[in-house]
Subunit: 347 residues, 2 copies
């Protein structure tokens, strides 16, 4: 295995292809000078972009392919026809050990399906999850699953808790991250049997490498009540998109309010330093990237429409995760937990 | 039946009891001078508040009870012990025809359970839903179910569409409200079998009194893409709470940003007219109140922690719904739809 500093990039993914991917990599490189890159995609298009960034070019290789997964391709179609595509090859580089993490801004469904097929779920995992970084009033938290699957049973939810905790340990440098289970109320009687069973397991199993805080409600996510929020993928995806939509909606309100009268406009000019801070806080590019957790390798999904700064956030995230023994540690955590659950079921 | 202008109020519900309920009613009365009220609860406490509002006192009756449902009571307990409580009696007034709508800021679970038991679901309805008014960049939309039940089958989701459309017709004065089904993507292959079946029915059944627009994602709710958003109660509740939390989080960011430097502070002072408009736009009191749909009578839940202005919004909502033949029209819509579904199943 190479040193955990090589990033495989699907140069053709996303709405803007190599333009954004190459510039994004160059931004990440200034932050993490030890990074190395392998670009997969159209050699000439990539070379044209790399010319603009000689420092990056010096630390990069390009592997040519003509095959690209369309942003609107059905996952099934992408799987049948996508072998040899820039997306496929970047994931395969992780599988082969040529790279430590793959990042793509391409089609989410195809990336998920290919990552599962190529990297395979970890032995103890029935269902991988997509984890999102979510900004809070304090800093950030991790929310999963935000859409890898629809529905989850109690054991899968408990596995999500362990997977999220492993990621939080790496990113937030906390040994026992706090974990909450998203529900329609905080009382023990709330929710269906599945969330209540997961709650019982997480509460009663001793020695888990996390600090389980019980049920939380949707309004506590952004308050930063816990480091890791666990939810099945349908509700998790809807929560994520709803929060994004609400932020956009309030930005629109704010813009309208600040251009209403000349006095508001003048005030907005004077307060522009404050507004700049606000925009940075609300900038979705800061926390760009969903991580596929539960596979034998790390694959990161960047938003398809993001710019170079946003893509760089996704690359940074992958790099930080590659620096640690995330997967090995997670495998050990899952083994311990499943063993205890099976034991208590047998008693 | 009395004229649809009498509102039954649970005077003891909510965190502040008669103080907020009576003042809230007085605010609603200034907007709708034909309103009449029946207050249920502690006679002396209610009288002490009514003294402050002689116009309201002149249009009100009070029916005394000592029994109050605690805000943290379990619904089951409330049902067994709550007969004769202020909440129970206010719903019963609707059942008896003494009032046309009941409003309570009390315990949601208890109010839901009592409303179901006393008013009974409409003949065609398997599951009532809680509908919320949701602010959008244009105006408002209706989202249901936001937590009456966990999970829903395809027919129940389609019923929610009809119930939401009936409410939208009343509140927004649109004959064929637009309806979207909340999902994890807009393509037809997205989601589980339940949402896809509901989608097919809503798309293919002709003559429904609504304009079905297909799947929508969470970020489209606040954009006002449709008048009515349909979702099962677990994800719907999480979406609602997450949006509330995101709004609160951004308010916090904004406050921090505007007090950062003296220039920002000065700017914020000059722009205070704009900020006032923003606060009004974001004011959760404007759209306070969840409506129980699908029962033989109208029961409205106000937020427990709201103030008089927020409670007045819930009373206004109930009054507007009571002015129309909402339930009769909805019963007819449901009959037609179920008949067509059964027909197409038999073909």
């Amino acid at each position: 295995m190479v040193a955990p500093r090589t990033i495989a990039l699907d140069a053709m993914g996303g709405d803007h292809g190599p333009t954004v991917v190459v510039e994004g990599a160059s931004i990440s490189l200034t932050r993490h000078p030890a990074m190395e890159f392998i670009f997969f995609g159209d050699e000439r298009a990539i070379a044209a972009e790399l010319e603009k960034f000689p420092d990056l070019a010096a630390r990069s290789r390009t592997l040519h392919t003509d095959s690209v997964i369309a942003m609107d391709a059905k996952p099934g179609h992408a799987m049948r026809r996508g072998k040899g595509s820039s997306m496929w090859l970047s994931i395969e580089a992780v599988k082969k050990g040529d790279a430590h993490v793959a990042v793509s801004a391409g089609n989410t469904g195809a990336l998920m399906a290919m990552s599962k097929l190529i990297l395979r779920p970890m032995a103890a995992i029935e269902r991988p999850a997509i984890a999102a970084l979510w900004p809070t009033v304090h800093s950030e938290c991790i929310v999963l699953d935000v859409g890898a699957n629809i529905g989850a049973d109690a054991r899968q939810l408990a596995d999500f808790a362990l997977m999220g905790a492993a990621m939080a340990r790496v990113l937030f440098h906390i040994e026992n991250p706090t974990v909450g289970l998203l529900n329609v109320g905080v009382e023990e009687v709330k929710g269906d049997e599945v969330v209540r069973q997961a709650h019982t397991w997480l509460k009663q199993t001793s020695g888990l490498p996390l600090d389980y805080r019980g049920f939380i409600e949707g309004d506590q996510i952004g308050q930063g009540s816990v480091d890791v929020v666990v939810v099945e993928g349908f509700a998790g995806n809807i929560a994520l998109k709803t929060a994004e939509g609400t932020a956009r909606q309030i930005s629109q309100y704010l813009k309208d309010a600040m251009t209403r009268t000349w006095l508001s406009k003048l005030g907005a000019v004077l307060a522009r330093g404050g507004f700049k801070v606000l925009r940075q806080k609300m900038d979705p590019r800061r926390v760009n990237g969903g991580t596929f957790l539960g596979l034998n390798g790390i694959a990161i999904k960047s938003h398809g429409g993001t710019d170079a700064l946003g893509f760089a956030s996704a690359v940074d995230l992958g790099y930080e995760m590659a620096q640690t023994g995330l997967i090995e540690r997670l495998a050990a955590d899952l083994d311990t937990f499943h063993h205890r659950i099976d034991q208590s079921a047998a008693e």
